[in-house]
Symmetry: C2
Subunit: 332 residues, 2 copies
């Protein structure tokens, strides 16, 4: 049976609250520069109180990725948890408005919709403090077998691995997908996330994952390698395709004997790097699900990443189809 | 007694939800291009459902103005009504984070915090659909005499005039201010607002207002004049200072025999005109409350307007002090 969805993603449903701050702010507030740190509500409120005026834009790593897939014209679906509150409605509206299906019911009680405080410094680096709220409350029963088997790729975010129920949901989704002959893609999400779950992630990648996404730091954390090339060799063959991103140095795609080293897409001015990895995955998966070769997939990923770092926020603001047309020729 | 506040403003507390759309969208949804239209919750939800992904940024006309005054380094205060909901907390955070005092208690029940759906078209024009929610529920008891008498200027927005209680609050604030020898500034807000209240606005301007802000269209609506110059002559002398803005044609300030015709501040690229008038008022009032001549006040207004139309959202994202330093010389 032909898939009717290109990519279904499971991830944390988060609204980003972005503000521009200087380096002194990062030091004064005591947040880890360039990283994503999980915080509780009290700490989230403390950081928010110190931040300047915010811009609220829907985010969440895997949600950004399916937003990007839809931006390319792909068929995308999201599974994640919001509360029936204002941020939850904002999150749902923003995904649906770009054509992403999102039907996981909002929780009627419990914690509020999660939010990620994103401090953007003058070098366009983002430092994130995430209060997850209800987001990781994804359970195996939220994973609908029909949706997963309808999707060419099921995309899972490492961030979800902290909670047993969400972990069980990931395993369930990946087993259904592979059982139906579909592919599973997994992102390591964050080096600290990898540190917390190194052995389990290594097992998961070897047993449940077809396409692995990681950046330079994450793949070295996973493999405990001293440099990028050592990490690349370690991960090679662990899954069908390993996609390793290296910011301005482009990306490397390894699939068995096939290796592609692809330059970064040119960017006029880097404004905010939030979402770069998420959008790279979007372009790559759009390519994979539309029958393109791995070099082309990497170029599509790079183009989508370039778009999203050119403005504030982690979701594309210009139609990604235009990038696809440029890279693929007029056929789109 | 010297004022301890430069500008206190009474206005609608609104969070803006902005999205980029094409002209076909404006026609299909049936909203009045370039205007601000009041809508009920049902219509607001209908337009929101049709809009693309949103960016939420605090707004509200008079609130934008005090945000701008604070951006120049002025002492500013806001009086307005939010609910104790997520949008209400966002609104309060954003004002306080830039140093604007905002102590009007949040309502514990009633309608939700108001929001303004802003559709930005490729020509950078904004079309606004406002669901006021709890915003206009400002009552005379929300106006604190001590705050008003502490402020050099009390700034009032015409939008509030639709509700009897809010109208009474405006009249109370202006009477306290003038009784204490302070100045009252008033913005006509919107041509449709002027149409609804022409006679009352004309009376108010003649009896309670020292500084009137209006754009070309609004001042012609107020005076029912055929052209700008006729409107200018009609409004001249009706209050101490009339400040008339004309988009890219700059502004005209009339104060008795004094008339200044000031060119617009150069802008690299106009992205979103939301907040241009609000920020013009901010620069002008910062100038007035810091002893600058009317020509300089108009230049400060123009500079602040230029900043805000260069990016998405109606609040400044760069420090306005830099503009002031440029215009005023190193003294700042």
């Amino acid at each position: 049976m032909q898939p009717t969805i290109d990519v279904v993603a499971l991830g944390n449903a988060l609204v980003d609250v972005l503000s521009y701050e200087d380096d002194a702010f990062v030091n004064a507030v005591g947040i880890e520069r360039g990283a994503m740190t999980m915080v509780d509500l009290e700490r989230s409120d403390e950081i928010y109180a110190a931040m300047g005026p915010g811009t609220e834009i829907s985010g969440g790593s895997a949600a950004n990725t399916v937003a990007g897939v839809a931006g390319f014209g792909g068929r995308a679906c999201f599974v994640g948890k919001v509360r029936d509150d204002q941020l939850g409605r904002v999150f749902r509206h923003d995904l649906r408005s770009i054509g992403v299906s999102f039907d996981t019911p909002a929780a009627a009680d419990g914690l509020p919709t999660g939010r990620c405080l994103v401090v953007v410094t003058p070098d366009a680096q983002r430092t994130m403090s995430t209060y997850l709220g209800i987001a990781p409350d994804i359970r195996p029963e939220d994973v609908d077998a029909e949706t997963i088997t309808s999707a060419a790729v099921t995309y899972l975010e490492g961030y979800l691995w902290d909670r047993p129920e969400a972990k069980a949901a990931i395993v369930k989704a990946s087993e259904i997908a592979r059982g139906a002959g579909r592919r599973v893609a997994f992102t390591l999400s964050d080096p600290f996330c990898v540190d917390r779950h190194r052995d389990e992630f290594w097992d998961l990648v070897g047993t449940h994952v077809d396409i692995l996404f990681a950046n330079d730091v994450e793949v070295r954390a996973l493999t405990e390698a001293d440099d990028f090339d050592e990490a690349l060799q370690a991960v090679r063959g662990r899954c069908d395709i390993a996609v390793l991103t290296r910011s301005e140095h482009g990306s490397v795609v390894v699939a068995g004997d096939e290796v592609h080293v692809v330059a970064a897409h040119p960017v006029e001015a880097v404004v905010d790097t939030t979402g770069a990895g998420d959008l790279y995955a979007a372009g790559f998966l759009y390519g994979v699900t539309h029958g393109h070769d791995l070099h082309t997939c990497a170029r599509l990923g790079g183009a989508a990443a370039a778009e999203v770092i050119g403005h504030l926020g982690a979701r594309p603001v210009t139609p990604l189809r235009a990038f696809a047309a440029e890279i693929l020729g007029d056929g789109g």
